[in-house]
Symmetry: C2
Subunit: 338 residues, 2 copies
């Protein structure tokens, strides 16, 4: 066991785009578990866009990380020491240990992982929070019907890639938007999307209209901004828009220039009877058993695929996270910690 616990804390709140300077690597002593506690050693740390929200003091659905606190995050951890009756040394668990080598836990919220059943990192991706986000948002709010057109952006990421694949499994057309030709090729050639568009191309609105000749019935929103502007005119009557994320806006420091397009959006909602609904994955916690059974089954049968982007070393988490917000990753971003 290493004698030091490295931990990455929030050094300051970013105004706009975060940089590695907003984080600080500290070293402390490895804590010892008291009665009823376990010591967790982090094996893998998940990096996800929602963490940008935690760096801000703005009110949101979860409280911000305070300055000097360890950054939050889901982890695959190993029980390194235990004074808890239900956990034994050597067991692997899904935890929320954050950006650090070691953490104490009283056992609450830990989920034991079976490394034989699936690679443990899938608990951070396709069989974890991102996968369940795709599954619940698409099926509970988007509700695609056979023959309908589903559009998703950040489509090569862990949420978007599963949204498109589930849409296909439910008989809908899947159109993905991603950054660059390599990701687009992955969507159509490896994941079976019906079409993939590069949002860096010069005419996204035109490309999207051509890719969706019957309009759009479900738009799974996780980026906002220019992509949403291209999508809005194509939404059909009664289209559903699960609002899962707005990554293009997370670093905005002020509202964009006018005119104020809000009346255009509201008029579209009214005349086309659109249904927009924000959600976070835990709003649908009751769906977790269905999710595990259904997506787990598809994964074992090879009917859904996933891709991981693994970065080596806790010290590289800040760089990797900053890149995530720019779309530099290709697949579920995971840091191999120890």
């Amino acid at each position: 066991m290493s004698a030091a616990n490295r931990r990455i804390v929030l050094a300051s709140r970013p105004h706009g785009e975060p940089s590695p300077a907003h984080f600080r690597l500290e070293e402390g002593r490895v804590p010892s578990p008291g009665p009823g506690e376990v010591l967790l050693r982090t094996r893998y740390l998940s990096l996800d866009p929602y963490m940008r929200g935690r760096m801000s003091a703005a009110k949101s659905y979860a409280k911000p990380v305070e300055i000097g606190e360890v950054m939050v995050g889901a982890t695959v951890s190993e029980v390194a020491a235990s004074q808890h009756p239900e956990f034994r040394v050597g067991e692997t668990v899904l935890a929320s240990a954050g950006w650090q080598d070691y953490a104490l836990s009283n056992g609450a919220g830990l989920r034991r992982l079976d490394p034989e059943a699936a690679p443990v990192t899938t608990a951070l991706g396709i069989l974890g929070m991102p996968g369940m986000t795709a599954y619940t948002g698409l099926l509970q709010i988007g509700r695609p019907k056979p023959g309908e057109t589903v559009v998703v952006a950040a489509a090569a990421g862990p949420v978007g890639s599963l949204v498109g694949q589930i849409a296909r499994l439910k008989g809908a057309r899947a159109v993905g938007i991603a950054g660059g030709p390599e990701k687009c090729a992955y969507l159509t050639q490896e994941l079976g999307f019906d079409a993939a568009l590069d949002h860096r191309a010069s005419d996204l609105a035109g490309d999207l209209a051509r890719a969706c000749p019957q309009g759009i019935d479900v738009y799974f929103e996780n980026v906002g901004g220019a992509v949403f502007e291209a999508v809005l005119p194509l939404l059909n009557d009664f289209a559903r828009v699960p609002v899962c994320g707005l990554v293009s806006g997370y670093n905005l420091t002020e509202l964009p220039e006018g005119p104020d397009r809000t009346p255009l959006l509201m008029r579209s909602i009214l005349t086309r009877r659109l249904h927009l609904q924000g959600f976070i994955v835990w709003d649908f916690a009751e769906c977790e058993p269905d999710f595990i059974r259904e997506v787990g089954g598809w994964l074992r049968e090879g009917r859904v695929r996933h891709r991981e982007d693994i970065v080596d070393g806790l010290e590289n988490a800040p760089d990797a996270f900053v890149g995530l917000l720019r779309g530099a990753n290709f697949g579920k971003l995971v840091v191999k910690v120890g």
Copy 2:
């Protein structure tokens, strides 16, 4: 029977606020019913905000009225002559005869009215399209729970006044926004709203926050603009916003000045998991029997009240309609035609 059929046609499309000059009164011959037809004589014509949309060529959920065509509208009509086996002279029907004295019908869509059961004009208001709009939008999308706070604007109008009263009957708090002290007094003193706010007051946002100390759970949207801006910060997590109308924007000729507040709205939808949904009453046509039974019952029992603003003479319909868009009416606006 008058020898002439007066009819009000769309003379030109307004750019911005309509004026009486956008309409033209014409006279023609009273038509004669052929086999299978009835001749309807208009007794009452309903004037409603949706008609502003029909004056525009912009794509919406219904096709526009063409230049030179008779303005559309629901009517209470009397069968003046009949060659239809199911309708007899003297019967009163709910029809869509438009802004004219006489119209032919093949019987499709006519609904016989029983003047003994309820005053016939209620078929244009509380027991008609406006009432059903309130009933379905509030209960199917808004779904207020006991103790929740429901806010509605244009609250002294036929839709808003019923929204608030149904909210109260379902155990929610009802807060109405209306134009001027007389309408506000009507809401609290005659209809039982918990609070009423004058949108012409200088501090609507502050007044609204004080009237909704627990935030807003349902906002029944029928005006948009400044009222929606005041509402948005107060919407609670999981609030529902049935989008029924946007009357404050119907005369907009260009988008308002910047900045573009769309990202603010989308961020609110995401972080507070709001549910916005546009609808028109016929999206919920299957609810009509429930509506007639339930609201009809409340009306007979005196548990809901309504108010009509009756204008005399077809020739006054254009002025009355222009006033409606400015909130000049007080109660359901109906033109007594003949």
